[in-house]
Symmetry: C2
Subunit: 350 residues, 2 copies
DNA sequence: ATGAAAGCGCTAACAA
DNA sequence: TTGTTAGCGCTTTCAT
């Protein structure tokens, strides 16, 4: 049977005895269609195996859809800057496809600013949203709103216990701690280790390093059960204080040579470390921040575990694009990213 | 001035006093256009900043362009299988964009089969070509042909000293050897090391492990100058022979605990290694082959350096797509890929 | 609630 | 060598 090979809305219009207009209406459930017609169309679509033609659609619409990106404001050189940068990396596949990603930032220490950002985002009537969530409760509330508006959303970096998201892209937190410990020890028995931690004022926020720390400790428990793990708290906004803290601490523990931070801030220790060099030290941190990579190149930091936040953002946007443009669900809802090990010998090609 | 914002071929037609047809002809340099018109059109395109509308083009053409992939035939579980697999990963961004990648394979040990593949590829009138080259001379010849046909091509994995390629995606070979050495030693002084090598019959082919070995040796020279580096040659097609070779060799060198292969075949050593376990051994290899990763999980292999050949293919195809569809040149001609360090603690999330 | 028709920007076949 | 024109499949406005 030499039927036409691609079936179009015209085909399904004829098949149902309706018109292209009506078919289009049900395709985009934009109302004004009788229940009967709706059903007929749906059935025809099913039977004939209709698939929309993206180009035609885009051509006809000839107006970009906006994708909202809800992300903490990025201080220069910070983790969030990398995330935001990922939005640019989708150039080829997405922007030319009629989607324009648009950033909506909020202050990660101010829940009100988060609410504001949500508000603005909604007003932009986005076709989809990417969320890097920090405030659990509030994020859940926002997710509800999106759902009731039929707007698909995907999480990156961390994920509240929502259920309605299209996808999630992030590092497996527990395993990253495990991996980190293995890199710190180098697979050997080590005599002691120090975790430097950030003193957080507002612990209400989701703490992604929590699971990571659990993974780290479990590794140590299993492979270096005799090794004491110390904790030292610092204030990221007080460089001088960090110096003093390290001075004081290492006066008491001069033999500790294995140092780790489970967040992206290992660069905070670099000034002190470089003033007190020790070739036998091993220093492990997370994330490919500029300052971290520089320290890696100089040998101050031994290795970094990178999740490539730009990639998270890129993949999130592409998943959204696939869904919006082609109604294609992502293969997996939860997508755990590579954990890349960066040393000074591969950092230049990361 | 409220001019129309998007300029179309109609605009440039009017601006030059020619017609859409002619403009289209020069846009696709398909001849039948006077030199004068050609120039006028080109200038207008420049002046008005015309950018083609991909959807419209695709809609109108409504027929896929084929992209030829010239790759060595993949034995199951081999390196080249991963490369070929990469062709599938472009689903979202490319296939729906009116390009259909098509594989043309050749026997990596038979130059005639390479010539055949080239022939077939050409007959398919591809809009672009991805080449994983092994035969230097012959590849150069083929590249000439493509150029004279105006067909863009990109190299992956390795690259002959051609100049006309659109782009290249591969691992930096020398540095990968360096990195590998660092992983083998763990940054420590080691007493001795063994490189297991493949005995090649036809050394006429480009040997990508050559540079890699140079990097490896240079690292050892610099960081472990006292460490002897042994070489042992094996025949990949003779498992029993490999066993015997290892037996014999390790009888003579029972203390050597650092073992490396600079190609993707570390899995060849696994049976022997697992019959002669030694917890203090370090074994380093390349590439994320199934068999390699399994050995990694079991702890037989300490670490793998992966270049993710699927990614090379994916990026190659996308670069081609960008060029064919949007006439956009890749940012960099030579693109060196990540070198990822895989251990048993991150292999499950690679 | 439904249909008719005019594009969206480009391609390709046909005329001139 | 160049111009004309009929689509490609979908969206959207305006009648009905």
């Amino acid at each position: 049977m030499a039927k036409k090979e691609t079936i179009t809305i015209l085909d399904i219009a004829r098949h149902t005895g309706l018109s292209k207009g009506t078919v289009d209406r049900v395709l985009h459930n934009r109302g004004e269609v009788s229940k009967k017609s709706h059903e007929k169309v749906m059935r025809a679509i099913e039977e004939l195996g209709y698939e929309p033609n993206v180009y035609a659609s885009l051509l006809a619409r000839s107006q970009d859809l906006t994708v909202g990106l809800l992300v903490p404001a990025a201080e220069p050189g910070s983790f969030w800057e990398l995330v935001s940068a990922g939005a640019g990396k989708t150039a080829g596949s997405v922007e030319t496809f009629g989607l324009s990603p648009r950033l909506f930032t909020y202050d990660q220490y101010d829940i009100d600013s988060f609410r504001d950002a949500c508000r603005q985002l909604l007003e932009a009537r986005p076709a989809g949203v990417v969320i890097a969530p920090l405030f659990q409760e509030e994020t859940n509330r926002f997710a509800r709103e999106l759902e009731s508006g039929g707007i698909p959303y995907v999480f990156i970096d961390s994920k509240p216990d929502t259920i309605g998201h299209l996808a999630y892209f992030g590092m497996p937190p527990y395993q990253s701690g495990y991996l980190c410990a293995d890199q710190l020890t180098g697979g050997q028995d080590i005599p002691s280790a120090l975790i430097v931690r950030i003193r957080r004022d507002r612990d209400s926020r989701s703490d992604p390093t929590l699971n990571r720390r659990a993974g780290f400790m479990d590794y140590m428990e299993q492979y270096c059960p005799e090794c004491p793990v110390f904790h030292l708290f610092i204030d990221p906004n007080d460089p001088a204080g960090i110096d003093r803290a390290l001075d004081a601490w290492f006066r008491l523990h001069p033999d500790v040579r294995h140092i780790v931070m489970l967040n992206s801030r290992i660069h905070l220790l670099v000034p002190w470390l470089e003033r007190h060099p020790d070739r036998r030290r091993r220093v492990v941190g997370f994330d490919n921040l500029r300052a971290n990579m520089d320290a890696l190149r100089r040998g101050t930091v031994t290795c970094l575990i990178a999740q490539h936040p730009e990639e998270q953002m890129r993949q999130a946007i592409e998943a959204l694009a696939d869904y919006i443009l082609r109604k294609k669900l992502p293969e997996n809802k939860d997508n755990f990213m590579h954990m890349d090990i960066l040393t000074r010998f591969n950092v230049d090609y990361y």
